[in-house]
């Protein structure tokens, strides 16, 4: 311990005075938590309903196929996502197997973080989803933090699973990928021949990959393309997507 250490300690303590406790804080947080849980449950219930209906349809259709002499159940048709790893297109890169491990409370997918060439958008793409956070927005583009139910801030548009794109808040538990989970470097996954990297705005001592204009990243069913008029991310399987620019956000791309 030395004088400089003491100076830092004293400075931190001196500038962080204790404030009177807010007696309503726990209630506010619990109310928000319950709302998030209800939203999650509704999503799970909707997904379960789709699965049950699908299975019921399959069982109902089976005798029909059998009667028609079909030996086996036909495989449910699934759109085949384009995987650029097998594509000669040099403007597309498959990052399904790269990225950073998830942070706490997240989904288990590997997140690949990248920025727009202007530096205004910071995005992620994984096999579980894609989303972008904006640094600057034109007035009126970003919705009020009321959509965060009174707690937290609006981050930006996000695609998650097969659902439609939506604005997300930093209090949404799934929307908290952490750069710190990347093992200390945000670009270990990045191919420097595909694009440059820049100092991360959150911490210039780390780097952030930059997806060049005209290039696309693909992870599973998800893809994100960079253009001068903004970033477009979509889910090839569900058909949902979003386009984000400083002046406009389209959640039904």
């Amino acid at each position: 311990m030395n004088d400089f250490d003491d100076l830092i300690r004293t400075s931190l303590r001196e500038h962080t005075p204790a404030t009177a406790p807010d007696d309503t804080l726990a209630d506010q947080v619990a109310a928000t938590g319950r709302r998030i849980r209800r939203t999650r449950m509704a999503g799970v219930a909707a997904l379960a309903l789709v699965v049950v209906v699908g299975i019921a349809w399959g069982w109902a259709a089976l005798p029909l196929f059998t009667q028609q002499g079909v030996a086996a159940m036909p495989t449910m048709s699934q759109p085949t996502p384009s995987h650029p790893a097998s594509s000669p297109d040099p403007s597309v890169r498959d990052v399904s197997a790269t990225g950073s491990p998830e942070g706490i409370n997240y989904t288990g997918a590997l997140d690949n973080y990248f920025a727009s060439p202007s530096g205004n958008f910071h995005c992620f793409i994984s096999t579980a989803g894609a989303g972008c956070a904006g640094e600057k927005w034109d007035k009126g583009v970003k919705p009020s933090k009321k959509i965060c139910q009174g707690v937290g801030s609006v981050i930006g548009p996000e695609l998650r699973g097969g659902t439609a794109a939506a604005w997300v808040c930093d209090t949404d538990p799934h929307s908290q990928p952490f750069l710190s989970g990347a093992g200390g470097d945000g670009v270990t996954w990045w191919d420097p021949t595909f694009g440059e990297s820049i100092p991360a705005p959150s911490d210039p001592s780390t780097k952030l990959a930059v997806l060049p204009y005209g290039k696309t990243l693909v992870a599973g069913d998800f893809s994100c393309s960079m253009a001068k008029d903004g970033v477009t991310c979509s889910n090839a399987l569900s058909g949902h997507g979003f386009h984000v620019s400083r002046s406009k956000v389209d959640l039904e791309r």
């Binding site: 007696d23 804080l25 706490i104 409370n105 930093d170 710190s180 945000g186």
Partner: protein
């Protein structure tokens, strides 16, 4: 079943309320040390508590709730998504700093404002080391980075802060 769930939920809510009541002042000071201003500190505290509430039933050892909250808050702070990181870019024009001198009050103010010049991870390492008094290994676990990265981040942060004091003295 529903009644049982409701009772369990109620008990969990009471536990949570008790935790918030006993820890919110300390956590808010920690949030203030990380963010540097009251508005962002309140946002960070709320976001952390919401995540804690949602994870409440999955946390087996409630003796370590405070540590869980500390990890959650630190990681949320350094997250690339946080709005204060983009609004307060550390590469932006630095704030006007008071002159350093023999007055230790001025030096402490200089250090506090100098923290705004650090990247978020550097600042988090400094706060965990000097505000939370954690050792390097615990800081590494808290942020999910290696001890080597903690050492290098802390070293750079201290060099930057020393430069503020030393630079103005010359």
């Amino acid at each position: 079943m529903t009644a049982l769930s409701t009772t369990a939920d109620l008990a969990a809510d009471i536990d949570f309320e008790s935790f918030v009541a006993s820890h919110q002042v300390r956590l808010r000071r920690y949030a203030l040390a990380l963010t540097g201003n009251g508005h962002d500190a309140d946002d960070l505290l709320q976001a952390t508590l919401v995540k804690l509430y949602l994870a409440w039933d999955r946390i087996e050892d409630h003796d370590h709730l405070a540590a869980y909250a500390r990890v959650t808050m630190a990681r949320t702070y350094v997250s690339i998504w946080r709005r204060w990181g983009s609004r307060e870019s550390p590469t932006a024009s630095p704030p006007e700093l008071p002159a350093s001198g023999s007055d230790t009050t001025a030096d402490r103010d200089l250090i506090w404002r100098g923290l705004d010049r650090l990247g978020r991870r550097q600042r988090a390492v400094v706060v965990l080391r000097y505000f939370e008094d954690l050792d390097l290994a615990t800081i590494a676990d808290t942020l999910g980075i290696s001890i080597g990265t903690v050492k290098s981040q802390l070293s750079r942060a201290l060099t930057n802060l020393r430069d503020l004091l030393g630079g103005d003295e010359s």
